[in-house]
Structures are given as structure tokens and as C-alpha cells.
């Protein structure tokens, strides 16, 4: 497949196919006419609020709700005890107090015995007004017996450490996966250990080991999580408006959790104000809104506030990694070994789609050609909020890329070699694709060096190094950081990847109406990714229908076919492929109809965009619009041709797609204050075919800001008493326009060979790829001080400490 040809324009000026097209969805958003969950108001709707634990670890001795219940306007007060009394006809437990997590663990909906993290759900108030619901929380009296919390993952497995999950009969804080494993290994342990040992004893080789922390961060979409649930007691129909990246998967989970028949559940995910993984999980608040409507018979709205969002919903990372890299002194990488301590919080709520419970972390061998790689991940419980995979991480590829890209820079420092030169020496070569990595991934396509050269060209790399040298001579600290990342996105295939047993494939349905206008129904759900625009472009590209004549329907389980939803950059690789496949089915039907109308064999027809015509007689043909009417009309069709112009498809991807890119960050560091200024950011992405380059670039811009934020500012830390120190936007710092530069983007296009239109996912590329570029730039700036590594976030204080030779643990406020 070659680069995409320029698409012709529709009467409205849109490309009939790929190219820049203004977004359809903007028409409502720029008018303030978006429809988010908090904009949903149903007749008779009640409001709700959740009482949360002030302690990280405490036994609940008693809860007195009488004063809250007596408050005028309060309709119901629900505790864990109430939930224990509601029988649940489900295989997953006998009452509502506990629910399954996405990793086959259990999580309390409302705490019954103990609270296990600060911010955990303890009681639920339903009232006529959101202010009254909050007032009532103040009137609930909970008697807690404080217990010693486990806040430091490194101490969670020490003998005598308080046991967090005594509810499961545990005697320590280890986590056992569904296969019975307490550690998760991948790659060749023996081969890697031998290669490293050999290198240690070889004077022509070096071995570098570095502890690297990826601290706890939070996706923090601008819209928090929420839901409006209504159970119609007469019909038994549960309708739920909710902030969901995966409406169909959520429907199945609610069916399992609540024991409700799935055909009586309708999930509507209206406009979603950003997701980034935060809206993949099923949170107690969602379930409580369902319980609220069951108990009261009225629609119940639950909308969390920002503090609740940051303290209780899905966090990301918290990976304590120790990486060892072996190489020759010429800079040829030989082996990488990684040991990870994974802090999963109080409940193992990770959403991960493989049989490997550390998600896609074992893709850590990265973009380089070497034979030996191995990792071991040891997960533990701590008294922190549950979760584990969120924040645009591609199922832990963020951690993997950060690890390898930091290790490569550590190696470059050890070898006193330019980090660009070291990368160029080791990048996979085009002829190696499809490439099987040492941990078993099959990368589909790539021309890595080309992409890296484009980035270096945009950056003016040689001049930058000269500038750096001059500045260093003047006592100014400028740094240049590289990151070369390879992502694997688009989960399944279903045989290898599922969530709670649901195979990762996606359905789609396309109908062309008699007048040639079309409706496409998707299983995936946009949180800002412009699906209403880009999916219309895919159909336009395949069928020649004007994109403005194609309505894209998504986010409502009653109106769309089943599929696993939008996260892990999987929409374009999976559902985008489905859109092409279903269009081709329609095109084939159109051929049969056209042949009947033209009284020829279908084999005699040839396609040009939007039209079948008779080979060798271009004038004799039928446009897709004409065929649409014919297919619904009185034309006699051959046997076996059903008529009408519609099709369904389920796309089960044969493999992931592997987008990649090279990022270069340029920073200036003030050694007096530790302040880092990101001066330039060059990002060259290769995500295969670009359906709408404007939208692709927008996705990259957002991810770069995420990376700058994580590298320099964002952190959910805890003190030793278990207090969350990142529970508001006063404390959890997100980048503003002042911290972000004007980005410099470039592209190469290496289509995926197995995707119908050659596209790869790109939604998370920049979030995955950019943090190491920023950190590598800062460490490069600090090289004259002898700094080899410092953990994110590189706040002024942390940078200053690193300069003083006294870096601190960033994840704990108190050692």
C-alpha cells in the first residue's frame, strides 16, 4: 500500500475519503450544545452524594445515619450493611456490597468491614437536591478504629505488615492473578541472565542498572465521572446515562453485577468530556446510582466532584522498575532485564486485555534489535485507590517505553556516546519487519531510522548540540532529550485478549438508505476523538458517498452493535477496520445490484470512487446513489441477492498495529531554582495511513501536553498516614498553556500491512512517547552536575535536589 491519494471534494467541500475535514461534532460544542451526563435531567430525578473514608485503613465499628435520614429532602441513606441485605441473583456474589473488578478481584461498593484507602465509598445519600445530598453527608456519624496503613509498596511484603485484604482470607499483601500466579514474568529469564553475566565479565562490554520510578498520576479528564440511572419498575428496563468509554462492555458488567437481564439494560454514553482511560472502569458510584434507582423508584443522578475523581477513580502507573541493560562498548545492545514492584492499591482493578496481567508491559524491549529480554512484575496491595491502568497508557506501554528510553540514555551516558547515535545503532531495520520481539510481539511495519532522521532534521540536531556546548561554556543549562517509542495498539485478537472473558472484537452496521444517504453504527465511543467525522470519511473513502451524507451513531447500546469500546488507542485499528470491511460488503452488494440493472455479469464491472461501470465502457455504469434506490426498488435481483443496501461486520484484528515515533524535547533549566522550561518539542509520528491528518495532529498535541505534565508536574503522592496529597487541582498540577510550547510536528507514513486501510492507532502515542523525551532532556541538561537519573515529576524542588546530589523519592511525602 502506498501513500494515500488526494481525495476529491464533496459539494460541501469535504474530502470524499481521507484528508483534513472540519469536525461534524463541533457544530454543537461551539454553541454550548454538547450533551454531557450532567446535562441529563429526567422528570422526577433525584441527586446523590457519597460519603468517603477520611482514613486509608480503618475498621468500621458503626455507622449512624439517623440524623441524615431525618434531614428534609433526603430520600434514602444506603450503607454497606444495606447492600448486604439486598440479595443479588448473580454468580458473582450473593449481595450488592461487593462487585467484581476488571481483573477478577473484588471491590467494595460500600465498605462493610474496613475502609482500605482514603476516599473509599462508605455511604450513599439520595436526596431531592445536590446540595441537600452533600449536607446529609455531614450528618452521618461513622465510628472508625484506625489501623496502620500500608503506603509504601516496598514495605507491603515485609513480615508483620498490616494485611489489607483480610476479607479474602489473605495473610499478606501479595496479589494472585486468575492463573494463580503471584509474579508475572515474560521473556527468556535464563538467556537474559546469561547474556548480562557474560557482559559483566567482558572488558569490551558494559552493564548499567538503574532504578526508575513511574509515579502515580491521574488522567483527570475535564469532565468527572457520573451517571443518571433509571429503572422502570413496570417494564424492568434500566436506562443508564453514563460517562463510559465502553458502553457495551459496561452493560455486560452491570448485568453480571446487578443480576439484571442484559436485554433490559440500556447504556447511553452521551458526549464524554475526555476519558484518557478514566472512564473504562466500573466505579462504585455508577453501581450506587443503579442501586439508588432500584431503592427509590426514581431516576438518580450521581456526579462526582473533582476531589472524588482524583482520590478514588482509576489512577495510573505506580511502577517501581529496576532495569539492567548490557551492551558492547561500541554501543550494541545485548540484553535488558527488568524487575518491577507494582503498586495496585487496595483492590486489583486493572483493566488489562491479555493473559499477561501486567498488560502490555512486556513490550519493553522497545524499538531496538537485541536478542535477550526478560521482565518480572510483582504486584502488591497497598492502602491506595484501586485501578492500575489509565491515563492513555496503552495498557502499560507507557511504563515500558519510559523504562527502555531512560535505560538507553543511561547507557549512552555510561558509554559517553551521543544518545541519538546510540539509538541509530540499535533501531530495528525495515527488512526485519514483520519483527518478532524477544518477548513475543510481532511488530507489523516500520522504517524507524527514516522517522528518526526526519525528527533530527526538523530539530536541527547538530546545531542544537553546538548551541548546548556554547551555553555550557557560559554556565547555562540546556538539554536535548530523545525518545523513540513503539506502541502496540488495537486489542485483540480475541483469542489472545479479553476483558472479563469478553473477546476484544468490535461490531459495526452500515445502512445506505434509498436516497443514497447512510447511517453507520459503531460499538466504540468517542471522548473527543472525532468519530462522527473520521468514520464518515472511512465510508466515504470506500463507497464514494459524501461524508456529510453519512450519519455516525455511537454511544447507545440500543442503537449500536456489540463491541469493546474506545481505550488503548483501539478504535481506528479495530472499529476503523470494521468500518472499511462493512463498507466493502456493501460495495459488493452494490455490484450485484448494478450488474442486474446493467444486465451484465458482476465480473464485468469495475469500480471507481462512488460508481460501478462496465469494463471498457465507462459511460455504462451506476452510481452508488442510483444503486441505493435500485436496491430498494422493483428491479428483479438474481437469486441469492437480498436487495437493500446494508451490511454488518464484526472485526477481529489479526494482530495489534504498531505505531511509532521519534520525539525530541529541548529544555532550559535554571540551576538556581530548578525550574525547567520546555522550549521546543519535535514530534514525528508514524501511525500509518492518516484518515484525517488534522485530527491525528490534535491527538498528538494533547498527548504531548500530557507527557510534559507527567514529566514535570503531575503526581499523586501520599504521606505516611495515608493522606492523598494530590486530591485537588490545587495540589495535582496540570500543565497550562504557559508550560506548553508550540509543537513542531512531522510525519512518516508506513501503513499497517494487515489493516484494511493501513491505519494504526495514534490516540496515546504522544502520551506514551513524550515523558521520556522530557526527562531525558532535563537529565541531559544536568549532565555537568553528574546527574544520571531523577524521577518524575521533575518539579523545581526535585530538580534542585538532584543538582545538589540528593534526589528524593517522589512517591512518598515522608520517607
Amino acid at each position: 500500500m502506498t501513500a494515500v491519494e488526494e481525495a476529491p471534494l464533496s459539494p460541501a467541500g469535504n474530502p470524499i475519503g481521507f484528508g483534513n475535514m472540519k469536525r461534524v461534532e463541533d457544530q454543537r460544542f461551539i454553541r454550548g450544545e454538547g450533551n454531557y451526563v450532567d446535562d441529563v435531567n429526567l422528570p422526577g430525578m433525584l441527586h446523590s452524594a457519597i460519603l468517603r473514608s477520611p482514613y486509608a485503613h480503618a475498621r468500621i465499628k458503626s455507622i449512624d445515619t439517623s440524623a441524615a435520614e431525618a434531614l428534609p429532602g433526603v430520600v434514602a441513606v444506603i450503607t454497606g450493611k444495606t447492600l448486604e441485605g439486598i440479595p443479588r441473583p448473580s454468580l458473582l456474589g450473593d449481595n450488592f456490597a461487593w462487585m467484581p473488578t476488571l481483573s477478577y478481584d473484588t471491590q467494595a461498593v460500600l465498605a462493610t468491614d474496613k475502609v482500605r484507602f482514603q476516599g473509599q465509598e462508605v455511604a450513599f445519600v439520595v436526596a431531592t437536591d445536590r446540595y441537600i445530598a452533600k449536607d446529609a453527608l455531614e450528618l452521618i456519624d461513622v465510628d472508625y478504629e484506625q489501623l496502620e496503613p500500608v503506603m509504601d509498596a516496598k514495605k507491603a511484603m515485609e513480615p508483620g505488615a498490616p494485611v489489607i485484604r483480610d476479607d479474602k482470607g489473605q495473610t499478606d499483601n501479595s496479589i494472585t492473578d486468575v492463573h494463580g500466579h503471584k509474579t508475572w514474568e515474560s521473556g527468556n529469564a535464563i538467556g537474559t541472565a546469561e547474556a548480562i553475566a557474560q557482559a559483566e565479565n567482558d572488558p569490551n562490554c558494559v552493564v548499567v542498572t538503574q532504578e526508575i520510578m513511574y509515579p502515580r498520576v491521574h488522567p483527570a479528564p475535564m469532565e468527572t465521572c457520573g451517571s443518571v440511572s433509571y429503572l422502570d419498575k413496570v417494564t424492568g428496563q434500566l436506562t443508564m446515562y453514563t460517562t463510559s468509554q465502553a458502553p457495551h462492555a459496561h452493560r455486560t458488567v452491570y448485568a453480571m453485577v446487578a443480576g439484571l437481564p442484559e436485554h433490559k439494560i440500556r447504556i447511553i454514553s452521551p458526549d464524554v468530556g475526555g476519558g484518557f482511560g478514566n472512564k473504562v472502569g466500573v466505579y462504585p458510584g455508577y453501581v450506587l446510582s443503579v442501586i439508588g434507582t432500584i431503592v427509590t423508584g426514581k431516576p438518580v443522578k450521581w456526579m462526582e466532584d473533582r476531589g472524588e475523581n482524583l482520590m478514588s477513580t482509576s489512577f495510573a502507573r505506580d511502577y517501581h522498575m529496576t532495569g539492567t541493560i548490557a551492551a558492547t562498548k561500541e554501543g550494541k545492545i545485548l540484553a535488558v532485564d527488568v524487575d518491577v514492584l507494582a503498586d495496585h492499591g487496595a483492590f486489583n482493578g486493572v483493566a488489562q486485555p491479555t493473559n499477561y496481567p501486567a498488560g502490555f508491559f512486556h513490550i519493553f524491549s522497545g524499538s531496538y534489535d537485541y536478542p535477550h529480554a526478560h521482565c518480572k512484575v510483582t504486584p502488591v496491595y497497598t492502602n491506595k485507590a484501586p485501578g492500575g491502568v489509565a491515563y492513555a497508557c496503552s495498557f502499560r506501554i507507557t511504563e515500558a517505553v519510559y523504562l527502555i528510553e531512560r535505560l538507553v540514555d543511561c547507557l549512552a551516558a555510561e558509554l559517553n556516546m551521543d544518545p541519538a547515535e546510540l539509538r541509530l545503532k540499535n533501531l530495528l531495520r525495515p527488512e526485519q519487519f514483520p519483527y518478532t520481539s524477544p518477548t513475543g510481539w510481532e511488530y507489523d511495519s516500520g522504517e524507524y531510522e527514516k522517522t528518526m532522521r526526519v525528527a533530527m532534521e526538523i530539530a536541527g540536531y547538530d546545531e542544537l548540540r553546538k548551541e548546548q556546548e556554547e551555553k555550557r561554556a557560559r554556565g547555562e543549562y540546556m538539554g536535548i532529550g530523545f525518545s523513540f517509542f513503539t506502541e502496540g495498539v488495537g486489542a485483540g485478537p480475541r483469542k489472545d485478549m479479553d476483558i472479563l472473558g469478553l473477546g476484544m472484537a468490535d461490531g459495526i452496521e452500515l445502512r445506505v438508505h434509498p436516497t443514497g444517504k447512510a447511517v453507520l453504527r459503531l460499538s466504540v465511543q468517542s471522548q473527543g476523538q472525532a468519530h462522527e467525522t473520521t468514520y464518515a470519511q472511512i465510508v466515504a473513502h470506500e463507497l464514494g458517498i459524501n461524508p456529510e451524507d453519512i450519519e455516525v451513531v455511537h454511544g447507545d447500546t440500543d442503537q449500536t452493535p456489540f463491541g469493546l469500546g474506545t481505550y488503548g488507542s483501539r478504535s481506528t485499528p479495530v472499529s476503523g477496520a470494521a468500518a472499511a470491511v462493512v463498507s466493502r460488503k456493501v460495495k459488493e452488494r452494490a455490484r450485484q445490484v448494478a450488474a442486474a440493472a446493467l444486465e451484465c455479469s458482476p465480473d464485468d464491472l469495475e469500480w471507481e470512487l462512488g460508481r460501478w461501470f462496465v469494463k471498457g465502457d465507462k459511460e455504462r455504469g451506476k452510481t452508488i446513489t442510483e444503486i441505493a434506490l435500485l436496491s430498494h426498488g422493483s428491479l428483479e435481483l438474481p437469486e441469492g441477492v437480498e436487495g437493500h443496501l446494508d451490511a454488518t461486520a464484526v472485526y477481529n484484528p489479526p494482530n495489534l498495529t504498531y505505531p511509532y515515533g521519534c520525539y525530541i524535547c529541548v529544555v532550559d533549566v535554571d540551576p538556581g531554582t530548578g525550574q525547567v522550561k520546555v522550549r521546543r518539542f519535535i514530534a514525528v509520528d508514524d501511525c500509518g495511513t492518516r484518515i484525517n491528518p488534522m485530527v491525528v495532529e490534535g491527538q498528538v498535541h494533547g498527548g504531548l501536553a500530557d507527557g510534559i505534565g507527567m514529566a514535570l508536574m503531575e503526581l499523586i503522592a501520599f504521606d505516611e498516614d495515608g493522606n492523598n496529597l494530590g486530591g485537588s487541582f490545587m495540589d495535582y498540577l496540570l500543565p497550562t498553556a504557559m508550560e506548553c510550547p508550540t509543537y513542531e510536528l512531522g510525519e512518516t507514513v508506513t501503513p499497517s500491512p494487515h489493516h484494511p486501510i493501513g491505519a494504526k492507532g495514534v490516540g496515546e502515542s504522544a502520551t506514551v512517547g513524550s515523558p521520556p523525551a522530557v526527562v531525558n532532556a532535563v537529565i541531559d541538561a544536568l549532565a555537568p552536575f553528574g546527574v544520571r537519573h531523577a524521577d518524575m515529576p521533575l518539579t523545581p524542588a526535585n530538580v534542585w535536589r538532584a543538582i545538589q546530589g540528593n534526589p528524593i523519592r517522589v512517591d512518598m511525602a515522608v520517607e
Binding site: 461551539i30 450544545e33 475535564m222 468530556g273 494533547g702 504557559m738 508550540t742 509543537y743
Partner: protein
């Protein structure tokens, strides 16, 4: 208590509790849902609207404090079926993705241009620095405001 204010040129009188935040008054009582709510601490700026011609974070102001004053929300940008250039700019330049911060960003963008028709990039960045966006990395928001500066409406009053 009873609160009266002019919202997008129309006088509105409604009952509310004295403690009602302006953002909740506008959204839940008046029913204009283009103004959003995103944090508790005046950091995110999704609730920005104008009071007496100045952008304010409406989660940090009581409805009672807006009594007798003039409020303009995102719904008041479009005039006589004609989009404001700031709205056109956000669409032209892909200045939004999920759309949640967009109303607040557009209200501030409009105010920046009313007070400085030719702002520098730095002035735009500083002008929107009290507001957060998680989707765009701000790049195209800056471009959108620049587009609006370059394409003023015919009747636009120059500051």
C-alpha cells in the same frame, strides 16, 4: 431568595438558596448547560462566563452576587444566527476535541480579543492560563484565537 440578572440580554428572575453557586444557578435553575463545571477549586475554568463584561469563574461566585448584573454565557456568543468569529475559529483550527473546556475557553478568547484585537501568542497563552484543557495541548486553542483575531466580524467593536 429571589435573584434577578440579565443573561445574554434577557432579564431572568429565579428563586434559589442564598448559597447557590452561579454555575449551578445558570445550569440547573436557568437551564443553560453550555457552561460547565469541572473542579471545586477555581482551577479548571470550564465554568468561565462573563459578569458585567469580565470573565469570571462561576463556581467561585454566588448567584446572589450576580444579582442586578449582566451575565453572558457561551449561548450568547451567537448573534442573530451568526456565529461569533471565536466560535468559527475553534472549528476552523480544531481548537476542541471533547468540547468540555471549550465554552470557557471561547468566552475568555472573546474577551482577550475585545480588549486586545491583535494579541501576541504569549498574550493569548497568558490569557487562557487560568483554564485547563486535557485534549488539545493548547496548541490549536491558541491558533483558534489567532484565527478569530484575523477574521473579525464586520460589526465587531474595536477596543
Amino acid at each position: 431568595m429571589q435573584v434577578t440578572m440579565t443573561i445574554n440580554g434577557e432579564s431572568v428572575t429565579k428563586e434559589c438558596e442564598p448559597r447557590t453557586l452561579l454555575v449551578h444557578f445558570i445550569r440547573d435553575i436557568v437551564g443553560l448547560r453550555g457552561t460547565h463545571w469541572g473542579c471545586d477549586t477555581s482551577n479548571c475554568g470550564t465554568c468561565v462566563l462573563w459578569v458585567d463584561g469580565e470573565p469570571v469563574k462561576s463556581c467561585t461566585m454566588l448567584a446572589a452576587m450576580a444579582d442586578g448584573r449582566e451575565v453572558r454565557t457561551v449561548e450568547g456568543l451567537e448573534q442573530n444566527g451568526q456565529l461569533d468569529p471565536i466560535q468559527e475559529g475553534f472549528r476552523e483550527c480544531h481548537g476542541l476535541q471533547c468540547g468540555f473546556c471549550t465554552p470557557g475557553m471561547m468566552m475568555t478568547g472573546r474577551w482577550i480579543l475585545d480588549n486586545n484585537p491583535n494579541p501576541s501568542e504569549e498574550e493569548i497563552r497568558e490569557g487562557i492560563s487560568g483554564q485547563l484543557c486535557r485534549c488539545t495541548g493548547y496548541h490549536n486553542i491558541v491558533k483558534s484565537i489567532q484565527w478569530a483575531a484575523e477574521h473579525p466580524a464586520e460589526n465587531e467593536v474595536k477596543a
